[in-house]
């Protein structure tokens, strides 16, 4: 046998791999077939690492080809207690696909089918092994894209992108992978298959999909994904600006964004990078330039030209030495030469390199670069910086020679120090590569033991046997880890300060489902919240967190309700970083105030609420409220960067931060979004804001009945118009609730389309819509028809105001007793069918319905009351309640999506589960049992 080992090469590596339990491989081969199980040492060796420098040889590699086979493998692994890891293309940079000791690798590259391209609903259903670029090629003929584009996109799989919540150069404009994942099928570590979220992600329950994105394969194995598709931009302008100082380059980036332009890409290269690249690649960068900015904007025609001109002006204003704009594809390629040549340039000048992945807020880039260069000097390491400047995602590249072990050690220490700096400057230890094995030790820079323990607890709920990709992410341990015991020593002394026996007036104002609390407690700081919860935990009392009280009617009847925990005194705006477009606010602040503050700076949070002005930030987050624009801009989870939460144990968690790209640790903050206060009390939130659009236009026209909705949406999708919202109102919406009448199939539907963006883009879209729908709109397009609607017609109103007034009227909290409000979550194309079905059913039960549809995602709101003829009958409220209960049961039987009873007569609340069945419900209950075992927070409500 030929073996070689020489002094100068590293010593032979020996793997300590656990022995496989007898019969394990036999079971796998028997069921899957021998060709799907690799056990030869020569094969196993190749799966001992991914693109990160660390080795752990698996004991077997399996290639399942279906969800059932994945589930089978996990069941067998459970039975034999064999740990496992899922692997896609193995391109991860943090060791995410490296198996746990003695574990198996489950390779998903053979699950690589695109199951469905559903342009009408603007989504695609894929298996996890589909390569990112392959999907993009498949949807290109429709004029759509799957936006996440990590630089590995030519080979990396969508499953891997999702598990790592991959970024890429275009995140600034299009967001990270998590923003583009709608629905998931996941095999849990025990072999159970669950569905999470939906084609319409407005499903009830907490945001499990958000938790699973970026969970680094530690909570289960994704076996199917529904991803969002967006219209491909028509054109792109590329500019290259050269700067004499780093400060000027950084100021330019901020100024461009402040001007309301969101470039698709802003890449920066510092002097060291230029000096490294230029001699090898010869891109024409001056060797003495302090920084080079590569800026790309995409979009349509004239607006693109205007943005490009504006960017050039800003560059010069901020002191650019020169700016070059590409006029053709060839010129664009030339401008990119330097950036693209980076990889080969580095390999030409250095035998090895390490690429780190820290994030800082955009306005800290200069400071971060200064400190990084200090570290370079301190450790005697050459560090190049070429990074995504738009979102502050730094990628310091450290050059070294791997054959010199002291250099490897120095690089490791320098890297950790760089990450520490990123955290100190308000950023994150990882923006897109993930924690994995690489940054386990850096996790403690960002999180205290409390947060880490909570993450472990969540992991334990999913993976109680600690088999699924264990030994990653958490510092200092190699397994699932122990959950820290709850400290029982809390100072109850302060409880005396609160008015425990609140005046009757106060308790009467906090009634939930006819239950009056004993106490009403007003917390003034997070510690107060913690103290109250600790106190309640001791006495076993039930608490309901109380914000604006606008949504307390939603939920099942509380099993106990002893105290209302009011957050109205936690109402400060803590920090508004205009330049970084982030806003941190306490939970009790009114959401409307936050919007107003942002508007003052030309920024916004594009979330329209279904509730009135009193809603608080905490309440909005806890109820995951959203408006018709969510299908375009995204849901709350896409805008929340950080949360502070008080757990049922009384511990205060600080999760996330204030940077847009952050994939450090499990994203447990997502659990509290839509949790209705059942997992913890939100005390603080940090939002990402976006610039207000230059122009907003509202188009209204009539559609001949709901049966045309699917057709309408399909035509809209085909035009590649990208409206920010499409809302449908039937003619019962604006009228009095008591005068609602049963509507016929062809009863007209008011369609309100909102277009936003640059002037030219909006007018192009308007033309496109008017051209495409000339045949569909009997009365012709345009706004004038809108005001004809029912009793609003007399008022000369701004269309935007009119639409919001109509919405407010519909969702009004102070309706009569015999009213019910349902939310039906369906895919957009099914919404027309669901409306027709519910109307017919309503008629059968003597009910009349008014309907609002958020057509972009397909959410239907249905307001029920008694049909006119039935109103004065002496059967009374009980009969109405019974009809509603039967109606809900019948509708749930035919509905493709969950149906939530937002507001129903109290009598039937105990008969019907308010939430119904929804994807991931079982998981939500398991989480509740683990996080709040004593049932202190909002008990019985979810």
């Amino acid at each position: 046998m030929l073996t070689r080992s020489r002094g100068k090469y590293p010593a032979p590596y020996t793997t300590v791999s656990g022995c496989l339990p007898a019969g394990f491989v036999e079971q796998l081969t028997k069921h899957l077939g021998p060709e799907k199980v690799l056990t030869q040492p020569s094969d196993l060796m190749l799966y001992e690492s991914d693109a990160y420098d660390y080795k752990e040889r698996p004991v077997a590699v399996v290639f399942p080809e279906s969800t059932e086979q994945v589930a089978f493998v996990l069941r067998i692994a459970n039975e034999f207690g064999v740990p496992f890891v899922a692997r896609g293309a193995g391109t991860g940079l943090s060791g995410g696909a490296i198996p746990p000791p003695g574990g198996i690798v489950i390779t998903l590259t053979r699950m690589n089918h695109i199951i469905e391209v559903d342009i009408e609903n603007r989504c695609a259903v894929v298996e996890p092994g589909v390569v990112n670029l392959v999907l993009n090629r498949a949807v290109a003929p429709y004029g759509y894209i799957f936006a996440p584009d990590p630089s590995s996109q030519k080979v990396s799989t969508i499953g891997g992108n999702t598990a790592e919540n991959a970024g890429g150069p275009h995140c600034l404009k299009y967001g990270v992978t998590a923003d583009h994942i709608l629905r998931m099928q996941v095999v849990l570590p025990d072999g159970d298959t669950v569905e999470v979220s939906g084609k319409n992600p407005g499903v009830p329950g907490c945001d499990l999909a958000g938790l699973l994105c970026g969970s680094e394969g530690m909570l289960g194995i994704i076996t199917r994904l529904t991803v969002r598709l967006i219209p491909a931009p028509d054109g792109v302008r590329t500019m290259l600006a050269i700067f004499r100082t780093i400060e000027a380059a950084a100021a330019t980036v901020s100024a461009i964004i402040a001007a309301g332009i969101t470039p698709a890409t802003v890449e920066m290269m510092d002097n060291l990078a230029i000096q490294a690249i230029e001699p090898v690649v010869k891109a024409g960068y001056p060797m003495d330039a302090a920084a080079v900015l590569l800026i790309e904007v995409d979009g349509r025609g004239e607006s693109l030209e205007r943005q490009a001109k504006q960017i050039v002006r800003i560059c010069f204003d901020k002191g650019a030495a020169s700016v070059e704009t590409a006029r053709s594809e060839a010129e664009r390629d030339r401008l990119w030469t330097g950036r693209r040549g980076m990889g080969s340039a580095i390999t030409a000048i250095s035998p090895n390199y390490a690429n780190f992945d820290g994030v800082v807020p955009r306005n800290q880039i200069v400071e971060a670069l200064r400190r990084i260069s200090q570290i370079g000097q301190k450790y005697g390491i050459r560090i190049l910086n070429s990074f995504h400047a738009g979102d502050g995602n730094l990628h310091p590249t450290l050059l070294f020679d791997a054959t010199k072990s002291e250099q490897v050690e120095r690089v490791h220490r320098a890297g950790l120090e760089i990450l520490k700096i990123c955290v100190e400057l308000g950023g994150s230890i990882t923006g897109e590569h993930g924690v994995g094995i690489e940054k386990k030790d850096a996790m403690s820079f960002m999180f205290r033991d409390t947060e880490l323990a909570f993450m472990r607890k969540v992991k334990d709920v999913f993976d109680p046997k600690a088999l699924c990709n264990v030994g990653k992410m958490f510092p200092g341990d190699a397994g699932g880890g122990e959950v820290q015991p709850i400290s029982g020593e809390f100072h109850a002394s302060r409880s005396g300060e609160w008015p425990l026996n609140a005046p009757a007036r106060e308790t009467a104002a906090h009634v939930v489902d006819n239950l009056t609390p004993k106490y009403v407690v007003h917390a003034a700081c997070p510690q107060d919240v913690a103290d109250v919860i600790t106190e309640a935990s001791r006495s076993g009392e039930g608490l309901i967190p109380w914000g604006g009280g606008t949504k307390v009617h939603v939920g099942n009847i509380p099993s106990t309700y002893d105290a209302a925990l009011c957050l109205d005194r936690l109402d400060r705006v803590l920090e508004y970083d205009v330049e970084n477009q982030t806003l941190t606010v306490e939970a009790g602040a009114r959401f409307a105030d936050v919007l107003e503050i942002a508007a003052g700076q030309g920024q916004r949070l594009p979330i329209t609420l279904t509730t009135d002005m009193a809603a608080t930030v905490g309440g909005v987050v806890a109820t995951n409220d959203y408006g018709p624009e969510a299908g375009h801009h995204g849901y709350l989870r896409n805008f929340i960067l950080g949360l502070e939460v008080v757990l049922p144990t009384g511990e205060i968690l600080s999760l996330g931060g204030k940077v847009v790209k952050n994939v450090a640790g499990l994203n447990v903050s997502r659990l509290f979004i839509g949790s209705y206060g059942t997992f913890g009390v939100i005390t603080k939130a940090t939002f990402r804001l976006v610039p207000r659009p230059e122009k907003t236009l509202i188009l209204g026209f009539w559609l001949d009945g709901f049966q045309n909705v699917a057709n309408f949406m399909a035509t809209l999708a085909a035009t590649r118009v990208d409206p920010s919202s499409v809302e449908l109102f039937d003619s019962n919406v604006p009228g009095k609730i008591t005068s609602m009448r049963p509507l016929k199939v062809h009863d007209p539907v008011l369609v309100v389309v909102r277009l936003e963006g640059f002037e030219e883009e909006v007018s192009w879209q308007q033309k496109e819509i008017e051209r495409s729908f000339r045949t569909l709109i009997p009365t012709g397009g345009g706004y004038p028809e809108v005001v004809d609607l029912a009793d609003l017609s007399a008022q000369q109103m701004d269309p935007q105001q009119m639409v919001s007034k109509m919405r407010a009227h519909f969702f009004a909290a102070d309706g009569p007793e015999d009213m019910a409000l349902l939310k039906i979550v369906t895919p957009s194309t099914r919404s027309g069918f669901m409306v027709s079905a519910s109307r017919r059913l309503a008629q059968n039960y003597g009910l009349a319905a008014a309907v609002i549809v958020y057509a972009l995602d397909g959410t239907i709101f249905l307001r029920l009351s008694r049909a006119p003829g039935q109103y004065n009958s002496n059967t009374g409220q009980r009969a109405f309640a019974k009809s509603v209960a039967s109606f809900i049961r019948d509708l749930r039987a035919v509905s493709p999506g969950p149906i939530v009873a937002l507001r129903v007569p109290l009598d039937i609340k105990s008969d019907i589960d308010v939430w119904g069945d929804y994807p991931g419900k079982r998981l939500v209950h398991r989480l509740k049992a683990a996080i709040d075992p004593k049932g202190i927070l909002a008990p019985g409500r979810m």
């Binding site: 030929l2 020569s42 991914d50 293309a89 193995g90 590995s152 030519k154």
Partner: protein
Amino acid sequence: MATELDAHQEFLYEIVQKCNRCGYCQEVCPLYNVTGLERSVARGHAYHLRGIIEGRMHLSTDVARAFSECLLCKACVGNCLAGVDTEKIVVAAREAYWTQRGRPLVQRIIFRHLLTSPKKMMYVLRLAYWVKSLRFFRLRMADRLLQAFLPALAHAGGFFNHLPKKFLVERLSDLPLHNPAATHRVAYFVGCAMNFVFPDAAEATLRVLHKLGYDVEVVNNVCCGLPAYSNGDIDSARNLARLNLAVFANLGVEAIVTECASCSSFLKEYQRLLKDDPIYGSVAQAFSAKIKDTSELIARQPMPRLEAVADTLAVTYHDPCHLHRYQKIREEPRSLLQAIPGLLYKELPEAGWCCGGAGSFNITHPEESAGVLARKMANVAKTGTDTLVTSCPGCMIQLEYGIRLRGLGIKVVHLNQLLDRALPAQDQIERGDAKC
């Protein structure tokens, strides 16, 4: 005897160390796209060889099987940011394995005895063709015999449909070679596959050269050595190279041409192969500099007006790996094709994607090869053309096989066969020239 791996271990270690395992090679590797296995992609090959050099892994039969799973198409090499030369890794590993293990008899016979003598090869192939031409039941028996004794060759029969009655070397006397009036003298390298499988195409090459006014010298050359080299028998390849250098010495020609992309690419490699050879080193240098693929030679010459080709309407072109990646010749064949009047040229999607033939790969790895071929065939079918043109006999065998299997009814021809038909006879050319 020292193998590459022994002699150049440090050099090879440098190559494999460059691989940072980014995995970007997965995109372009035709084989990985079929198997989905790490062992058949460049990253896996580099990792294996690195493990072997570092002493973490033995060059076992399993590892050798992994190294056998490479088409040597070099797609990964061009795509690699770090510039890892996987072809060298794979060949060195194959050599080390077979040297350690002892080369099998068949390989020894072929590389050391048959390839060195075109005559012997001719006799053997005559026999083989005769067996194949026998009636059905005997053929079955022959197949069974093959199965029993040479399983690797059992699949070979299916690739060859019609077999030539006369090899090229037997037709030379009837072909116009010398042109006393010519200003350019070139030597023609007779490729084995051209000679024994596609003599018609080889004949076309010689006619094209003649029509274009070249004086052509044909010598009794041996195999270029690529089959031996690819299977890791570098010594035999060097031996063949030396034999060839000897027969082409002192011819005084300005170029040595061949229409076989594989041959020309490997002949150009002689200078590297014999770099350290005290006697042949400098000769190889000069020799390799003279090697030209026919399209490379012709495309630079002024072309007479071409005529339309009967019964060929639309063509597409498949880039042989050995032409467009090994020799960077991409535009020449296309511009020649497009110069033919009345011919619709359609670009083949993924034209440079390997066809899966890869020398003897289609025989040794029939399943994987079929997978690679399937992708090629799907792309060929998309073009809707009636003729598929290429410049390598290896590809022609594989493509013909794929088309026959699927009943696509598309002709596979060598570029020179079309050119031959498009070029008017020489006397007409001369008259045409006089007119201009």
